[in-house]
């Protein structure tokens, strides 16, 4: 289980969807951190085995947290959430 430190919420809420489910984030969150706080750890399926993968480095190096936004693959740890963003799991579907 994860969540937020109480002091972190001086920011506006931003709503987006992941795999069709509504997710509530804070402005300035990356997709990866908003999803982690929302308990969604599996962000993509691996290339050949199709195993679930999630955040590894959290700083844009490993590409394990790839998701799809508007048809583009993006690193969810480096992409800040926008209201109404439609985020899908990355990799093999």
């Amino acid at each position: 289980m994860s969540g937020r430190l109480t002091d972190a919420d001086g920011r506006e809420r931003v709503e987006f969807t992941f795999e069709g489910d509504a997710v509530s984030a804070y402005a300035g969150d990356t997709i990866a951190m908003a999803l982690w706080a929302a308990q969604a750890a599996a962000l993509r399926r691996s290339s050949s085995a199709g195993e679930p993968r999630g955040v590894l480095c959290n700083m844009g190096v490993c590409y394990e947290c790839l998701v799809t936004v508007d048809g583009h693959n993006v690193r969810s740890c480096m992409t800040v959430v926008r209201a109404g963003m439609v985020v899908e799991r990355g990799g093999r579907q």
Binding site: L56, G60, Y63
Partner: protein, 461 residues
């Protein structure tokens, strides 16, 4: 000219302590400076700032060294310079840095370049390291300090080196139960770090602060222990931990299982040198500094005379080293313009910081025996799903060079471009744990960017 192309006297890559120190000084001297940084705000990973609009701090106690970070950020953000954030540099030539920014393909043209791109966590493959919830030590720090996200309820921290301490204290500060904090080096080996700590006032203060934090929470480091494996259904639920011998080899009969919901593993750092190699810098293998590091002269100049480098790219050393070497880069560039050498006191300060860091980090150089944690069916390359056995077969059939292994099994050819598996891939494939790795080969794009970014690059490279 469109805003896709920026012109500056000096282009700086990275807004961590090294880049900030260099850029602030160069701008103060009246040069036009443009800084490219991949993160949303200045600070680098070590002094990472929370998002704009969030409380200034997430309420986690900070070590004394962070005063330097606040001072650097304060000066940097008030300096007359251009700082571009969310910029991913994907190709470079002397005087040119191509980068993707907000989905657009842009170019920075400059007379000189200062590289301070930092480092990233060294990963060592072990069974279950691909499970969601198993992350690097650095990832946990970003989570807590950068975003105020509580990583879980019960954490395991395992790895080696001084960065385990800020990871553990960040978790404790966030109210996470740290079930175990495991340092693979033995207490005796770690004692070799002592002269680098005792001989340096700032590092001494830092060490005392961390000891107090651990003591306050009743936490302790277990020396000579590490993570053997992680298990769980769809995400990590258990970790198997145990003792290792002096070389890092797992010791039979010492394994025990703990229940956890998050694991942070960090076996030191790997310098991010790709950009330097692309620009013509030379590199050298220095295990105590994290592997291949750029070779620089005493003014931080690389083999390409218009390119300077500061901080982790010259070998892992920490924020104090980076800031001191950033100051050297600035002094050297300003000196060149005035036809004189860099200021001797600035060079002396950087040398002293580097010496202290080298002494400390030698005690945490990667333990070769940790490569035996991976079993034949353990994935070594996470991008291409390549197991250790497949990498071994590739080495047997095609040869034991990095290139042959990559060609033979596709390990290291995915989007991370071998940044994650590279440091241990050759040892995994050949079983020669202590061998000196082949120098990494740089491929353009240096980081995966959109095809349009490459197609639309200004002044196509």
């Amino acid at each position: 000219m469109s805003d896709l192309v920026i012109d500056a006297d000096v282009g700086v890559v990275g807004a961590g302590p090294g880049g900030m120190a260099a850029a602030t000084r160069l701008a103060a001297a009246g040069l036009s400076v443009a800084v490219l940084d991949e993160a949303p705000r200045a600070g680098g990973q070590i002094y990472r700032q929370p998002p704009v609009g969030a409380s200034a701090s997430v309420g986690i106690p900070e070590p004394p060294s962070h005063d330097q970070g606040h001072a650097l950020i304060h000066e940097f953000e008030r300096a007359r310079l251009l700082s571009v954030h969310g910029a991913t540099v994907w190709d470079a030539r002397p005087g040119r840095l191509w980068f993707e920014h907000e989905g657009r393909s842009r170019l920075l043209r400059c007379e000189r370049i200062v590289l301070s791109p930092g480092a990233y966590d060294r990963c060592i493959p072990f069974p279950g390291w691909t499970l969601p919830g198993v992350v690097t030590a650095g990832a946990l720090q970003v989570m807590v300090r950068g975003f105020g996200v509580v990583p879980g309820q019960r954490a395991l921290v395992a790895g080696s080196g001084p960065l385990l301490l800020p990871t553990v204290t960040a978790l404790l500060g966030a109210g996470v139960e740290v079930v175990a904090a495991l340092e693979a080096s033995s207490r005796w080996r770690a004692l070799r770090a002592a002269p680098g700590v005792i001989g340096n006032a700032a590092r001494r203060r830092e060490a005392v602060w961390y000891m107090k934090q651990l003591w306050r929470h009743g936490a302790r480091l277990q020396w000579g222990w590490t993570v053997f494996a992680c298990e769980g259904d769809g995400r990590v639920q258990r970790a198997i931990i145990g003792k290792v011998d002096a070389d890092g080899r797992p010791r039979r009969g010492t394994a025990r299982t703990i229940e956890v919901d998050v694991v942070g593993a960090g076996f030191g750092l790997v310098p991010s040198i790709e950009l330097g190699l692309r620009l013509g810098a030379r590199s050298r293998y220095r295990p105590e500094r994290g592997g291949y590091c750029l070779v620089v002269d005493e003014e931080q100049r690389t083999a390409e005379p218009t390119v300077f480098a500061a901080g982790e790219i010259c070998g892992v050393g920490g924020a104090e080293v980076a800031a001191a070497e950033g100051a050297v880069c600035a002094s050297a560039i300003l000196g060149e313009l005035d036809g004189r050498a860099a200021a001797p006191e600035v060079l002396r300060a950087a040398r002293a910081e580097r010496r202290a860091a080298d002494t400390m980090l030698r005690a945490f150089a990667p333990l070769p025996g940790l490569n035996e944690l991976a079993r034949p069916d353990t994935l070594v390359c996470r991008c291409e799903d390549v197991t250790r056995k497949q990498a071994q077969q590739a080495a047997e059939v095609h040869g034991d060079s990095m290139r042959a292994i990559k060609m033979g099994c596709r390990a290291g050819m995915g989007p991370c471009q071998a940044r994650i598996c590279g440091p241990s891939l050759q040892a995994m494939a050949t079983g020669q744990n202590a061998r000196v790795m082949d120098r990494p080969v740089v491929q353009v794009p240096l980081k995966a960017v959109r095809a349009d970014t490459i197609r639309n690059a200004p002044e196509a490279c």
